[in-house]
């Protein structure tokens, strides 16, 4: 049986843990709001980019010399997985989920005889995957030191991918990240970047009158400039969703931790009171039996 002093000390330590988790929860909630509004602010650009790409892609599709970023290399032997995770922990299973998803994907691809390369974006993805798949790493990028991940950071990742594609280092590029469904739910999911899936053209009659764009310079030149930009936008979106999801997940995890700490304090307090009561009873019995003996 733990002594009264030990119990008191444990109660105090759990209480201060609860204070910390409570504060972290509130910080995460504030950051979540900011991350969400940034994700929303980035949406118009992505939407318009998609619209432009839709009309351009229709004009260029089917040409034999279509750019690689759009149609890929034609092969299917080497896969590049871009795994996006958070930079910090204490967010429940958030980083583990995306890591586990990536691991399953790597195993599956390798069992089909493909070569896999991994580009980790975010510190936790690198930490999680490096031990097992270190030899497949082509690089890892972390934004841990940065307060706000800007579009330039995403553009850098995109430039690296484009460079690798130019050097024929992979055939298929897939992005793996936590899709932000809502504050509670983030599902790890994958999205193929290269060869790019063109945004679905809406019903032909709706777009037909609009499809008569003039291009300056020519279609393929614009497309050559637009595609890397589109790649950066997709990665930027994944990074923003990851950061919003991360804070959502951290908030939930810290909420749970706060509640668990409360439960533990209750249990320990009951234990403490019982022990105290037992001690008093014991002393009383000793006094009474001493008095009787006289």
């Amino acid at each position: 049986m733990a002594s009264l002093k030990d119990l008191r000390m444990r109660i105090n330590s759990v209480k201060s843990t609860r204070k910390i988790t409570q504060a972290m929860k509130m910080v995460a909630a504030a950051k979540l709001r900011r991350a969400q509004s940034r994700a929303e602010a980035a949406r118009p650009y992505a939407e318009r980019m998609e619209r432009m790409l839709g009309s351009l892609g229709a004009a260029v599709a089917g040409q034999p010399d279509a750019p690689k970023l759009l149609v890929g290399t034609g092969g299917d032997a080497v896969h590049l997985l871009v795994v996006v995770s958070g930079d910090r922990g204490l967010a429940g299973a958030f980083n583990t989920n995306v890591g586990r998803f990536a691991r399953a994907r790597i195993r599956e691809l390798e069992s089909h005889g493909k070569t896999v390369k991994v580009l980790a974006v975010g510190r936790k993805a690198a930490v999680y995957l490096r031990r097992e798949f270190g030899s497949r790493f082509v690089g890892d990028i972390s934004f841990a030191g940065k307060k706000v991940v800007g579009f330039e950071d995403a553009a850098e990742v995109a430039a690296k991918i484009t460079e690798m594609l130019e050097a024929d280092e992979f055939d298929v590029c897939t992005l793996i990240y936590n899709r932000f469904k809502n504050v509670i739910t983030q599902t790890p999911s994958e999205q193929q970047l290269i060869p790019g899936a063109l945004p679905e053209q809406e019903a032909a009659d709706a777009t037909a009158p609009q499809a008569l764009y003039e291009y300056e310079p020519a279609e393929d030149e614009i497309l050559a400039a637009l595609l890397p930009q589109n790649l950066a936008v997709q990665i930027y979106r994944a990074i923003l969703e990851t950061s919003a999801g991360f804070y959502g997940s951290q908030m939930t995890a810290m909420d749970n931790a706060t509640r668990n700490a409360g439960d533990m304090i209750n249990r320990l307090t009951i234990n403490y009171n019982r022990t105290r009561q037992a001690n008093i009873t014991k002393e009383l019995i000793e006094i009474i039996s001493g008095a009787e003996a006289v």
Partner: protein
């Protein structure tokens, strides 16, 4: 006077969305004024200044480092890589960029023509930024 909807977006946010009378865009092959009812076009932009006219006066002047614009008779959408109001441009920043771009161009001299061209475009964009900063 007739107006059209101008939408100005950067990857980070929607900067402008309102009806205007005229917009002058720094298109890749020369400045281009857009009035309502313009033929549908998709153009690439080089570094330069976009000026917006409302009520017969230039109300906004924004520097873009590059991007794309989609023009339809009733709407113009500008996707800018990076946009700053001309009044907020700083000359020292522009000069720094020119120096960096010149160095990059020198390095790109032995690389593929596409890379050389990209470096050249960056240098031109930086020079346009300096011009805009000086004019402001």
């Amino acid at each position: 006077m007739a107006t059209f909807q101008l939408e100005f977006v950067s990857p980070e946010k929607l900067l402008l969305s309102r009806p205007v009378e005229m917009a002058v865009l720094p298109a890749a092959e020369g400045e281009m004024g857009v009035l309502p009812g313009h033929a549908p076009m998709i153009v690439a932009l080089r570094g330069g200044v976009i000026s917006v006219t409302e009520d017969g006066q230039v109300t906004e002047r924004l520097y873009v480092a590059g991007g794309f614009a989609e023009v339809t008779p009733t709407r113009v959408t500008i996707l800018a890589d990076e946009a700053t109001p001309v009044a907020e441009l700083s000359k020292t920043d522009a000069i720094e960029r020119i120096t960096a771009a010149e160095a990059a161009l020198l390095e790109a001299q032995d690389l593929s023509p596409e890379k050389r061209e990209a470096a050249m475009n960056r240098l031109l964009a930086a020079r346009a930024m300096l011009d805009a900063a000086q004019a402001a």
